[in-house]
């Protein structure tokens, strides 16, 4: 942690970055985002297992970008998100410097995003065993049971869009649900509006989701909506060969293979 604070302080001191985005202690034993603009503010940086928010969501925010080059404290999922954003031309080396935290909680320095990418590629995206268990359990249900499960889970959703706001990949200035010509998804948060919103969200994240669970952690009602993106992730793996966020590679869903396999087209 001292190493992290020191590094962050030096970067600000040297004006290598204008703002460091990291974690600080928040309410009720939680951590929250810290935007340190002065070297002395880096003393508030903390890092431990409570730091699960995906800070990459801030690097596309206008008011944060206005500050100048960003130094981002990034765990593995955050780094993945950064690389995905880079591949979608949302961030670049001029605007962002990554201060990495390895899965072993060690600080690691990167010269540029290419190095971050190389680091990210050392790890596969793995769905944790508890979530996998839940997915399997759902898999074993009949379609009707699954439908009832989802209607029950999604009914409380009041469409605050915290899932969208917390997701680093949801950076569109105007989301499809905010368009009304045509109005694809009903605005009110009734069952139909909710299920269509969550289908749309999951599909738009297919091949892009970095499985950081930011959406689930953000949900004030703890709806397990990350199961949807996890299912997409497994499908991508199973049917389309899987994916890793990569700065230059084609995106899973904007490319194809002539021999993609399906078992349902007649």
């Amino acid at each position: 942690m001292d190493e992290l604070r020191k590094k962050a302080g030096e970067l600000l001191e040297a004006s290598a970055v204008k703002v460091i985005i990291g974690y600080e202690n928040g309410s009720d034993g939680k951590t929250r985002a810290l935007f340190a603009e002065k070297p002395e503010e880096t003393a508030r940086l903390v890092f431990d297992s409570r730091c699960v928010m995906n800070l990459a969501t801030y690097v596309t925010k206008k008011e944060v970008r206005n500050k100048g080059r960003i130094g981002l404290v990034a765990t593995l999922p955050v780094m993945r998100a950064v690389i995905q954003l880079a591949s979608e031309h949302q961030v670049d080396d001029a605007g962002l410097l990554v201060i990495g935290i390895t899965p072993e909680s060690k600080m690691v320095e990167f010269k540029d995003l290419a190095e971050v990418e190389a680091f990210v590629h050392r790890y596969q995206i793995e769905i944790d065993s508890k979530q996998k268990e839940m997915l399997d359990k759902l898999e074993k249900m009949t379609p009707s049971e699954r439908w009832d499960f989802w209607i029950r889970e999604l009914t409380p959703c009041f469409k605050c869009y915290a899932c969208r706001a917390a997701c680093p990949m949801c950076y569109c200035h105007r989301c499809t649900v905010d368009f009304n010509q045509p109005q694809w998804v009903p605005v009110p948060s009734h069952e139909l509006g909710n299920i269509e919103w969550h289908i749309m969200r999951a599909i738009h994240l297919a091949g892009r989701c970095v499985d950081c669970d930011a959406c689930y952690n953000a949900c004030p009602l703890a709806i397990p909506l990350n199961l949807l993106t996890k299912r997409m992730l497994l499908d991508a793996k199973e049917h389309l060969g899987g994916y890793q966020p990569s700065i230059k590679a084609d995106h899973l869903m904007s490319t194809y293979k002539p021999d993609d396999k399906d078992n349902f087209i007649i």
């Binding site: 929250r32 935007f35 928010m53 008011e63 917390a166 605005v187 009110p188 509006g193």
Partner: protein
């Protein structure tokens, strides 16, 4: 009317619940799912959540649902037929397990719906609601009702307020309104002589953290302050705070069409969304999140007191608990109080 004090045995609570239920009331109470609590129709007394400091969602939905039909239309050969909602379809509701801050919130919500034009749809719903409040035995660091005119045992807004006397004790029932009295009259034997117990000693302690009048005065001077940007940098721009808030009343009106018929629906909206004020031309009066965060605070602590003579905050702390970015309203209010001008 004078508040009448009675004793309700802990074992009688379920009887009271069943009595109300059998009397044709829909009972809305806190139900838990995935560790979060919200008010929904309760079938059995056993399903009611307990042990919560405050429910995740407020009870405002009982009078201001997140999506409610305001009219139906259908196009036919003869032209157009439009039908409003029939008040008779609105159920009689007993709101069970409401905290005093939520009960107080009903008054603030009503102030919005009743200044100038009196919103009939809202009032129709509210008039069919009886509020059974439960005092707070415990509080957490997010609670600040005492800073905004409430307290953990406040009777404001409740028809009956129940205060648990000691850990597993019986309840002191305060019968506050005519509606409350009608409930008590349903089964007088459940409401025993109470004597005069010292209610305060059973209540949670919530320290006063700021003075709301001072916040209000300060807000007049810091509209242009950088404070808004620094407070809201971490704000993600979602609507969680507004949707869990007991007093947030912003709404949208949407048409839902299916073929030649459909309905017009009033549904929740939030000033925190970038789309909220966006003009068709592309011009947006509140373009960035700091302006929208400022609007939220100004509306609750400056505009509402100015215009409606009530504040728009009950100190329930829900917005802070629900915020995915840990925007803590109490912290921000204190820093506004302390801001230099």
């Amino acid at each position: 009317m004078n508040i009448e004090k009675r004793l309700v045995r802990k074992g009688s609570l379920e009887k009271l619940f069943n009595l109300l239920k059998n009397n044709g009331n829909t009972i809305m109470g806190p139900l838990e799912r995935n560790g979060k609590t919200r008010f929904a129709s309760v079938n059995s007394f056993r399903d009611i959540a307990s042990g919560y400091v405050q429910t995740t969602q407020s009870s405002k939905e009982v009078a201001f649902p997140r999506a409610e039909k305001i009219l139906d239309y259908s196009k036919n050969a003869a032209g157009m037929s439009v039908k409003g909602i029939d008040p008779a379809e609105i159920p009689q509701v007993v709101l069970w397990g409401v905290r005093p801050c939520d009960a107080m919130g009903i008054g603030e919500l009503s102030a919005i719906f009743n200044w100038d034009y009196k919103d009939k749809i809202y009032n129709n719903r509210l008039s069919r609601v009886t509020v059974i409040g439960f005092s707070c035995e415990k509080a957490d660091e997010y609670c600040f009702c005492t800073s905004v005119g409430g307290n953990p045992g406040s009777t404001e807004g409740s028809d009956i307020l129940l205060t648990r006397m000691g850990g597993d004790g019986d309840f002191l029932a305060e019968i506050i309104t005519g509606k409350g009295a009608r409930i008590a009259a349903l089964s007088p034997e459940l409401f025993e002589e109470a004597g005069n117990p010292e209610k305060d000693k059973f209540l949670a302690s919530v320290p006063v953290r700021f003075e709301r009048e001072m916040i209000s005065r300060k807000l007049d001077k810091i509209f242009e302050s950088d404070e808004w940007v620094s407070q809201s940098l971490k704000c993600l721009g979602c609507g969680a705070c507004a949707y869990v808030c007991p007093t947030c009343a912003c709404f949208d009106i949407q048409d839902e069409a299916h073929g030649r018929s459909g309905s017009r629906v009033r549904c929740w909206d939030s000033c925190g969304f970038s789309m909220f004020t966006l003009h068709t031309s592309g011009h947006n009066p509140r373009e960035v999140q700091s302006q929208r965060w400022r609007q939220r605070i100004m509306h609750k602590f400056s505009y509402m007191p100015d215009r409606l003579s009530v504040y728009g905050c009950t100190g329930c702390g829900r917005c802070s608990r629900a915020c995915p970015a840990d925007m803590n309203i109490l912290e921000h209010l204190i820093s506004i109080q302390e801001a230099e001008v």
